[in-house]
Symmetry: C2
Subunit: 343 residues, 2 copies
């Protein structure tokens, strides 16, 4: 057992997550926890939403990237960092590098939207274009690492990144919530793995559950099978969750997560709308997956104290999936108010 | 002067606003104040956003309606309250009456959207339909008052309503912000008048400025002329600000407000987008008017501490005015994070 423990939590300890929180303190916000009595009523449980949509760069990814950059030795970091990504991790790494005053090389496919390249450049990142396929991206990354001596910081399959993401749940537990269950979305598994480790250290009675779109359910299938099954053709509105589960992530999740539950895109959109209308906050579709899971499985959570990590708020406002004004949605639209229960 | 003072602040005093805050405490949230370093950078000043979009019923109107209902004597209130409105005041009054366990009669034009009627009914309000013109609405209200003995609570031209709205600014000053300027949107003038009174009592060095759409600029024109000029054909995206300035409101505003500044609908939409993208919160267009005023008149506010009351968050999500994803807007979209500075 001790061996297994060592293997699944190497280098990450109760103490090291606390140290990570200290380390990244000047780079991230201690985000608020939001409460909505109207949504509680609908869900039949007491929900606590940790608002990482208010985080720097608009997503929890700021934590892991900051931790990974700051843990590099002075010598290691002097040639900069690199990754291949076009999502929140790219922006988060660029910003972490900017604060640390080192270069960040971000390999992006040549057909990536100009706006995403600009987001990275806005944080001082250096965009390296490559052919739009995985092989070219991986080769592009290798080339950058070789040419500049930059250190590769992957988006989730990395202990320092996972340790950084774990600081989010640490803040929840430090604020004194006695949660029965804590849910996060799962894509690559950085947030879920970090959250599960944090719960195992600080609140061992809290169950941790992953929430996943049906159209990108490799984590659920891997969790059930006991080995990693990569996602072939993911298809979901939750564009932050298209990636396949990482290896380190899978090992931690297998050992410390209670279950992984899935929901349809229609359920995700409905939960997303509820959060916009009742809580009056902007989130990206991936964020709505855990609430959709709770609403789909009410009996599982009945009467419980349930935490949900809202992972980010970077959404294309011109493409929100709210097509029609429905009878229900507008009577909902008069929020009964949400309030912040912790900072 | 003393006479003038009495006329413009009758019954409303430093003490009475505090008492109002106590009175409505079980009915409203103490809303948070939000801060965004990214928007500060763009605006060239230090902005503090008081988030009434997180208020009960999704708008500051909850305060005035609650105060007016609770100030009624037990005898006066037993036959219920009435108003003619289809906006946030209707929902706020219905809810205040529901909490006070008395009936609320809301006169609404027969062609009002079913969804708005449902919002009122959702709070237990009794919807009374009338022909869709002002005369019919006023007659409908008279009939209700006569038939049921209900007390008319107007949406803004009423001292108890103004006193209730003043509790919002009281919370800001009590939280210890030393604001140079405080801005609110102005429609009927309930929020602006209440805010101006609160500032005159609790923070006399804070200038209070009204923010108004060009397409509904009767408050600006009345303020300049020195007498009330009703709005004939208002036309603006800020649908909460279509009403003409009330009489009591005009008197208070004339005496305690520094200036009223206007902005175009394009400027309102641009400020609204900025708040969604950078602060990750949902607001209605009327809320964005004060930020638009600040961005249009940067030199006026340079280096100042500026408060803005975000008045509400009840917006039709299927009709958000964000048509295209622009280069700028998306690089903005990666928020540098917002944080809550007070609760």
């Amino acid at each position: 057992m001790q061996f297994w423990y060592m293997e699944t939590r190497p280098n990450i300890s109760s103490q090291s997550i606390r140290e990570a929180r200290e380390r990244i303190d000047h780079m991230v916000h201690r985000t608020p926890v939001l409460h909505s009595s109207a949504i509680n009523e609908l869900a039949g449980c007491d929900l606590f939403f940790k608002c990482e949509n208010f985080q720097k760069v608009g997503a929890f990814k700021a934590r892991g990237a900051a931790n990974a950059v700051l843990k590099l030795s002075k010598k290691d970091r002097e040639n900069g960092v690199a990754t291949h990504s076009s999502g929140n991790h790219a922006a988060a790494l660029a910003r972490a590098a900017q604060v640390a005053k080192i270069p960040a090389y971000i390999v992006m496919p040549s057909n990536a939207p100009e706006v995403k390249k600009q987001a990275v450049k806005g944080y001082g990142g250096i965009v390296i274009e490559c052919e739009p396929n995985l092989q070219a991206r991986e080769q592009g990354l290798k080339d950058v690492v070789k040419e500049f001596g930059a250190i590769f910081i992957p988006p989730y399959d990395h202990l320092d990144v996972i340790e950084g993401q774990a600081t989010c749940a640490l803040e929840i537990f430090d604020a004194g919530y006695s949660l029965d269950t804590l849910l996060t979305p799962v894509g690559g598994g950085g947030l879920l793995a970090g959250t599960a480790l944090a719960a195992s250290f600080y609140s061992p009675n809290t169950k941790v559950i992953g929430a996943e779109p049906e159209g990108a359910d490799d984590a659920r299938r891997s969790f059930v099978a006991g080995y990693r099954i990569p996602m072939e053709k993911p298809n979901t509105i939750a564009d932050g969750l298209l990636t396949s589960l990482g290896e380190i992530n899978f090992n931690i999740i297998s050992n410390h997560v209670q279950d992984i539950l899935t929901v349809s895109d229609a359920q995700i959109i409905s939960a997303m709308r509820l959060i916009y209308e009742r809580m009056k906050i902007v989130i990206e579709p991936s964020c709505a997956v855990p609430l959709a899971v709770v609403l789909k499985n009410k009996s599982l959570f009945e009467g419980q104290k349930v935490g949900i990590i809202l992972s980010g708020g970077n959404v294309d406002l011109s493409k929100l999936p709210f097509k029609t004004r429905t009878f229900n949605s507008v009577s909902r639209n008069h929020s009964s108010g949400s309030y912040f229960v912790g900072l």
